[in-house]
Symmetry: C2
Subunit: 949 residues, 2 copies
Amino acid sequence: MTEEAEVGVDLSPTSGSEQQAPHFLQDVIFHGKFKLLKSLTPEENTQCQHGLYFHDGQRRVDYVLTYHVKKPATGRTSRQSTHLLTENAVARSLRRGRNEHLRHHKKQKARDSSTLPSSPVADVELGCPAETVNGQEDHKMFRREEFEGKLRDMGLELEKDEDTKIAGVGFVKIHAPWNILCREAELMKLKMPTKKVYEVKQLSGVVEKISSLISKVVEPLHPHVEEHQPKNIKHLSHTFSREKQHLFDLSDKDYFFDSKTKSSIVFEILKRTKCKAKYSMGITSLLGSGVYTAAYPLHDGDINEESAVPNDRKLLYEEWANYSVFYKYQPIGLIRKYFGEKIGLYFAWLGLYTQMLIPASLVGVIVFLYGCATVDDNLPSMEICHPKNNITMCPLCDRVCSYWKLSTACGTARASHLFDNPATVFFSIFMALWAAMFMEHWKRRQMRLNYEWDLTGFEDEEHFCCCCCCQPLIITHHTRLWYFKGYWQLESFFYLHGAHIHQFHLCFTVAVRHLCLCPSQDHPRAEYEFRVMQKTLSKDQKSHHKIEKLTCRDRLPAYMTNIVMMLLMIGVTFAIVFGVILYRISTKAALHMSSNPVTRSHVQLTVKTTAAIINLVVILILDEVYGAVARWLTVLEVPKTDKSFEERLIFKTFILKFVNAFTPIIYIAFFRGRLVGRPGSYLYVFESYRMEECAHGGCLMELCIQLSITMLGKQLIQNNLFEIGVPKLKKLIRYIRSKQGAFQEEERQKKLQRYETDHFLEPFAGLTPEYMEMIIQFGFVTLFVASFPLAPLFALLNNIIEIRLDAKKFVSELRRPVAARAKDIGIWYNLLRGVANVAVIINAFVISFTSDFIPRMVYQYMYSPDGSMHGFVNHTLSYFNVSHFQEGKEARDPLHLGYHVEMCRYKDYREPPWSATPYEISKEFWAVLAVRLAFVIVFQGNHSRYGLQ
Amino acid sequence: MTEEAEVGVDLSPTSGSEQQAPHFLQDVIFHGKFKLLKSLTPEENTQCQHGLYFHDGQRRVDYVLTYHVKKPATGRTSRQSTHLLTENAVARSLRRGRNEHLRHHKKQKARDSSTLPSSPVADVELGCPAETVNGQEDHKMFRREEFEGKLRDMGLELEKDEDTKIAGVGFVKIHAPWNILCREAELMKLKMPTKKVYEVKQLSGVVEKISSLISKVVEPLHPHVEEHQPKNIKHLSHTFSREKQHLFDLSDKDYFFDSKTKSSIVFEILKRTKCKAKYSMGITSLLGSGVYTAAYPLHDGDINEESAVPNDRKLLYEEWANYSVFYKYQPIGLIRKYFGEKIGLYFAWLGLYTQMLIPASLVGVIVFLYGCATVDDNLPSMEICHPKNNITMCPLCDRVCSYWKLSTACGTARASHLFDNPATVFFSIFMALWAAMFMEHWKRRQMRLNYEWDLTGFEDEEHFCCCCCCQPLIITHHTRLWYFKGYWQLESFFYLHGAHIHQFHLCFTVAVRHLCLCPSQDHPRAEYEFRVMQKTLSKDQKSHHKIEKLTCRDRLPAYMTNIVMMLLMIGVTFAIVFGVILYRISTKAALHMSSNPVTRSHVQLTVKTTAAIINLVVILILDEVYGAVARWLTVLEVPKTDKSFEERLIFKTFILKFVNAFTPIIYIAFFRGRLVGRPGSYLYVFESYRMEECAHGGCLMELCIQLSITMLGKQLIQNNLFEIGVPKLKKLIRYIRSKQGAFQEEERQKKLQRYETDHFLEPFAGLTPEYMEMIIQFGFVTLFVASFPLAPLFALLNNIIEIRLDAKKFVSELRRPVAARAKDIGIWYNLLRGVANVAVIINAFVISFTSDFIPRMVYQYMYSPDGSMHGFVNHTLSYFNVSHFQEGKEARDPLHLGYHVEMCRYKDYREPPWSATPYEISKEFWAVLAVRLAFVIVFQGNHSRYGLQ
C-alpha cells in the first residue's frame, strides 16, 4: 500500500506522468469499483513495480513502443493533455455503448477508405494537425501524437513514460481493454477453448497396454511442465464471437486471453492503424522512418525471479532452454503458448528432425564401422598394399615428379574403403528413404499439432467467407479494386436488400477484414504503397486511373538487376572455386619442386587441408555477403506483400547459400580427376599446370575430407560461434553505448522495469536464419551421404546443442516476438522437398560415378576370371609407354625407383600402347559407363516411386 | 379440359388410383387455391397428358420409381388407404407449421438413430407392421408401402399408376413441394443465384479489341443456344437458406429450382430414407433387392416434340447431339443445366481434349510429311537400296531360309524412315510438353467452370462446418461412433449451454447432415452395412461392441483374392502375348517351308497382319472379361462408401485394361529382336523355334503397324460399333420382351406418357466407360508417340465422332441421369497424370532403344570418317563366318544367291570372326548403350523439370 502511494507520488510531478494524470485517475475510478480488493494484495504491487502493469497496478502492459527523447518540450504539454482528454472521452463513450461506437467506427473507416485516395481532410478533426513543424524531431513527435491519438480512437489505452532509467528513451505502454480484445478476437477469428471438454478416445486392448508401457518408459524424457488438464481431456474450441460469449468460460477475464494473444491483438491494431501520410501504413512504416525506435511485447517475467508463482518464461528457461535437459522432449505446448504457433512449429520441426537423425546416425555409424571392420578383407586395397605387386605408376606431375610404386598409396586405398564399400550404397538408398519418411512424418506431426492447437481450418474459413461473400471480387484479379471498390460493392449489396447489418455481421466483418483490415500477409508493404504513390505522382494525368499498381514494366529494371546479380554471384562462387583449384595445382607443383624431402612427403596433406580451409573461409564470408545481397535484391524488387517479400528473400538466399556451400563439393565429386587427360597428352590449365588427379582410391576420399571440413567448420564457426558470440557482443555494445553512466549493471538490472529490461534485449529477427542453417545442414546430411556416412551423426550432435542454444536465445536473449499464427512451415517444406529430390539424383551419380562401386561390380561379373575381385586393380590401370611422353614432360629422374622404367601405369580405361589404336578409350570404359548410367536410371526410378518426386 | 376429365374418370375405378384417390383430391383442393388460373391454360394440359405432371396437371413429376405388378391384391386396399390417410395428415401438418414439424422431425430422427442398433420398435408406430407375409411379391409390396409411407412422411407427394400401357409395370411418380425443396436445398447447401447481378470486368485497350475480333471470327463455331443473360453479367450466388429468402428471386417458384435440381433433391431424399430392415438404406438397396425395378427422373420433353416452347432436351438434341454441328463448341452451360455438373465436366474435358488434339495432330502430320519428303535424302536407306552395295545377310531362319541381299529390304528401310527420323524425336518431346500443357489447361478450365457454375468452395464449406462443430468427432477415426454417438454429443453440447437451436441452425443441420444424412459419397453402402450386420450377428457376444466395422482381418480373404486374381489376369495377358509370339514364329517357320514362292514372298505381311488381328481380337475380348472381373473383385472387397467403391473399381479396371492394351506393344517395342542371339548361337524357344528378329529398319516399323492396328481397331470396333450397336440391340430386346402384344411401336410411342417412354430407355450406367475409353486413347496418343506420329490425328477423328455419339446417347438413348455435383473429374485426373508421366519414360526408351536415332548419332559423331552418315549401314552390321554355323543349322541352299557365301552379315555390334574374341560384344555396342542410357537420363530429367513429375 505504501509502495503504491510512493509510486504515485513519485511520478506525478514529472512531465511524463503529468500528461497521463487525468487518464490515470479516471481509470483508477473506473477500475476501482471492480477490483478494489485485488489492488490491496502486496504481490500485485510488486508486479506493478516490475513494469508489467500500468501505474495503477491494474492494467497489464500488452505492448511497448519506444522512441528517442531529446528533451521534454514544455510548450506542447498543455495542448497535448487537452487532446488526450478528448481522446479519453471517446474511450469512455466506447465503454458505455459498444454497439453505437462500433457503427460509428465502421462509418469512420468507410469514410477513411473512401477519402484515402484524395486528400486526408478527415484526419484534421481527429486531432492530428496538418501544420508543418520545424525540425525532424518535432515532425516525428507529431507523427507519434497523431498515431497515438488514432490508437486511443481504436480503444487502446496508453501510458507514456519518458522519465525512465534509460536516458533518451521514451516508452509508450499499451493496454488493450477487455472489449477491444473481444472485438479483435472476433475479427481475427481466434479459436478459443469453450467450456465444453471432451475425452480423446483411448486405444483399446493390447495396443493400449503397449502404449502405456512405452509412455512409462519414456516418462523421464518428458519435461516437467505441468499441464493443468489431464492429457486425454481437450477443450472444444470455437471461433470467438461476442454473440456467443456464453460458450466460453469468462469467469476470469484477465486470463481468458493469455499474454501472447493480447500482444498479438495489439500488434494487429498497431499494424493496421494508418497515419496521415498515405503511404505509411501502421507501426511498420513508423518504425522504418524512425518515429518509433522499437516495438515489442513484454516477457512474462524474469528468468531468475524468485516468486511463488512461476511464470512461463522461467519454466521454459528451466525445462527447455537448458543444456542439462538435452535428452528430453521439448515442451512444445508451452513454447506455443508463450511464443505462438509459428515459433512452436519451428521447434517442433527441429525436434522431429533431430529425433529422426538418431536412427540415421546409428545406421551411419554402423556403415562406417562395417567399413572399418572389412578394411582388411578388402581385396583391392590388399592388392595395392601387397609388396609383391610392384606396379610402377606414371609420375603425378611433369618433370619434377618421378615414377612411383602403387604400394605407397596403400594408406589412401585402405582409408577410402571406409567410405567406399557396398554398405555405402545401401546407406545412400536408406537415406533417400529416410528423407522421404522424414517428410511424411513431419506432415503427420504438423497435422497433429494443427489439431492440438486448434488451427484446423483457420485459413479455410477465410477462404470460405471469401467465397461466400466476396465472390465477385475474387475474379477481377485486380486486388486494388478489391481493396476499395470491393468494399463498397459489398456494403451496398447488404444494405440494398434491407438485410439488417447484424444478420450478416460475421460475414461482413470478415469481408471488411479481408478488404481493409486484411491480415499481415495480404497487406501491401509500406514500400510498395510508397512506390505506387510515387508512380501516381510522376504521371501527369492524375484524373482517371487513381488506383495504380506496379506493372511488369515498372519492375523490369529490378528484375533485370536481380537476374544479373544472381548470375554474377553464382559466377563469383565458381570463380572462387576455380581459384582454389589453381591454388591447389600451383602450390602442389611448387611444393613438389622443393628440395626438402619432408615438405615433399607432406605435400598431399598440406595442400588438401589448406585448400579446404580456404574454401571454408570463403564460404563463411560469402554466406554473409550473399545474405546481404539477397536482401538488397529483394528490396529492389518491391514485392507487394510481406509474405511475398519473405518468400522471395528466402528463395534467393537459399539459392545463393546453397550454391556457395555445395559448388566446391560438387566439383570434387563430379569433375575432379575427370579432366586430366592421359599420360602423353595431359590437359593443361594456363598451358603450364596439369589438372589435378585424385589419389588412387578414387575421389571419394577427398570428397569426404572436403565434406567433413566444410560441414563441421560451418557448424562450429557459423552456427555456434556466431550465434553465441555475435549477439553477446551486440548486447554488450548496445549496453555500453546506452550506459554512459557509472553505476553497476547488477544493481541497475534490479531496479529496471520489465519494459526497460526487455529494451536491452536483441530484437527478434525472424526464423529465416534458423531455418536456413538447418536446411543447408539437411543438404549436407542427404546430398552426399554416399560419401560421408558420418554426416547424420555430426548433424545430430550439432542439433542437440542447437535446440538448446536457440531456446536460450529465444527465452533470454531476444525480445519477445509477436505471436504469429501459422499452419505449416511454409516455403521451407518445399525447399526441403527440393533438397530431398536433388539428393536422390546426386547420390545416384556419386555412387555410380565417384565411387568405385560400379567398376568393381562390372569387373566381378564381366571380366574377373574367377568371379572374385582378384586382379581388379590391374584391370583398372592402363599401360603407358614412357617413350611416348611429350618432349620436356618426361620425368627428370627416371631411375628414382632404382630401375629403368619402360611401361608405367595410370588409372583409366584405355587401350595399351601395343594395340591397334593406342591410348584410345577402351571397350571396358564404355561398358562401365553404360552400367553406371543404367544404375542412375534404376536408382532414380526406384526413388521416384517412393513418392519423393 | 375434356381430356383431363377423361383421364380422371378413366383412372378412378382401378385399384391403383383407388388408393390414391383421397390424396389426389386433397391435393387438388390444396393447390387449387393458388393455381386455379394456371390450370386452365391448354398448353399445361397437353403437357400433363404427356406425363410430365401429376393427374391434377399442377404438380410436376420430379422422379419416377417403377416396380413389377402381378395382379392387384384387393384384400389389402382398405388398410392401405387408411395408412395413407395417416401419412397425409402428417404431410398436412407439415405444411401448416414447418418449424414445429422440423423439430418433431429431428427428434424423430434422433430417436431413430438411437434405437437403430436395438430392435426397431419405433417403426411400428409409423405404420410399418412387422408381421411377415407369405410370398416374395407380397413382401416386396410391404416394403414398398413402408418406403412410400416414409417418403410421404418426409413431405414428398406421390402418385401411383399401375394401369399403364406397359403391362406388368407400376409407376410411382414423386413430386417435391416447394417447402421440401427449400428445406433440402438448404441442407444440401445448394448455391442459388441471388437477385444481385454484377458485371464481369472486361479487358481494356488493345487486348479487348483483339479478343472481340477473335470472338467475332469464332462466332459461327458457337452453338445457337440463347443464353438469357448477357455474357458479362453474372448472378451473384449464395448458399440457399430459408432465412435469407429475400436474397433470391422467388417470383416464379416453379422455375426457381430447375428440373435437374428438383430431381437431385428427390434422389437425395430417396437415398437417405431408411426402411425397416437396418441394413437397407434408401432406394439403392431397394433397387438391389428388386423391390423397385428402376428409379429415374424424367426427361424434359420429347426430342421431336413440335411445341412452341422448345425444351432443353430438344435444344440439346439439335445443337449438340448432332453430327452436323461437329465443328462447333459444345453448349457446356446447357449440358450442365440439363445433366448436372459431373456430366458437364466430362463433356468439357472431352471437348478440351479434342481441341488440344488439333495442334498435336497438325504437328504429327507435319512430322509424318517431313518423313515422307526426306525419304529420298536418307543416306542409310539409300545405301541399303543401292544395288552396288551387295551386302549378303545371314539367313533369317534355320535350314530352309538362305542368304539374302540387303537391298531386298529396301522397301522396309524406306518405310521405316517415315517413323524414324530426327523429327520424330522432336515430336515426342513436343508431345510430352503437350501432355503437360493439356493437364495445366484442364486445371484452368476446371477452375473457370467451377467459378462459372458456382461450385467454388462447396466442399470446403462442409469441411469448414465439420471443423467448427464436429472437431471432437473427427479425431476418433472411428466413423461408426461418429455416426451415432457423435450426433448425441453434438446435440447435448448445443442444448447444454442454453443456446437456442435456431442460433446454431445452419451449423447444426450441416452437422446432422454429416452425421445422419450425410451425402452419398460418405454414406456406407448397403452391402457394407449388410456385411457389418452379418458380422455382428455371427458374434455371440452381442452385449458390448454393438457398433462394429469391418476390420482388415475380415477383408483379408477378399484382399488376397484381389491380389491373386489381378496377378492371374496380368499373367493371362502375358501368356496370350507369348502365345501370339509363338504363333508368329511357328507360322513363319511353316510358311517358309512352303514350296509355293508366292506364299513365301508374302510371309512377312501375312504373319504380321494375322498376328496383329489376333492380338486385337484378344484385347477386345479380354477387355470385356477384365471389366467384369474388376467389378466382381470390387464387390468382394465390400468397400465402405460408394466413392471408394467407384475409385477401387476404376483403379482395377484401369490397371487391367491398360496392361491388356499395351503389353503386346511393349513387347514389340522393347523385347522383340533383342533376345535373338547371334548367328551360330541363336536363342531357341522350345528348342526348335528361333526368337523373332525385326526387319532391317528396326522394330519401329513393326511397332507402328501394331500400334495403328490396335488403336484403330479398338476405336472402330469397341468404341463405335459397340457403343452404337449394343445399346440399340438391348433396347430392341427389351422392347420386344415387354411388347408381347401386336400393335405398332410408332403409334404406341405417341400415346405413351413421358414416364413410360423413358422407361424404355437404357438406364444410365455412369461415366466410367466413357472416361476409361478416353484414357486408354490418351495412352495411345502419348505413350508411343515417338513411333507413330499419326496417333493424335486418328484420336482427333475418333473424338469428333465420339463427342456427338456420346451426346446422342445421353440425350436420346439413356434415361435422364440424376444430376451430381462435382468440382473435378476426380481419380481420372490422377490417372491422366500417371499416363503422362509414364509416357515420358516410355518415349525416352523408345527413342533411345527402339529407334535407330542414337546409333546414327553415335556413328555420325564418333565413328564416321567424314562426319556424314555414309557407311552407317555397314557399321551396324557384324560379320559372321558361315563355317561357324552349328551342325544342321546352316542354310540348305547356300548357293541361292548364285555365288558361294563365306561371310554373311547380321545386325548387331559384335567383334568380327578374325578378332581375338570373335562374336563378343564390341566396343561400339557399349558406346552406343552408354549414349542411349545418357539420353534416357537427359530426356527424363528435362521433363521432370517441366513439372510433369
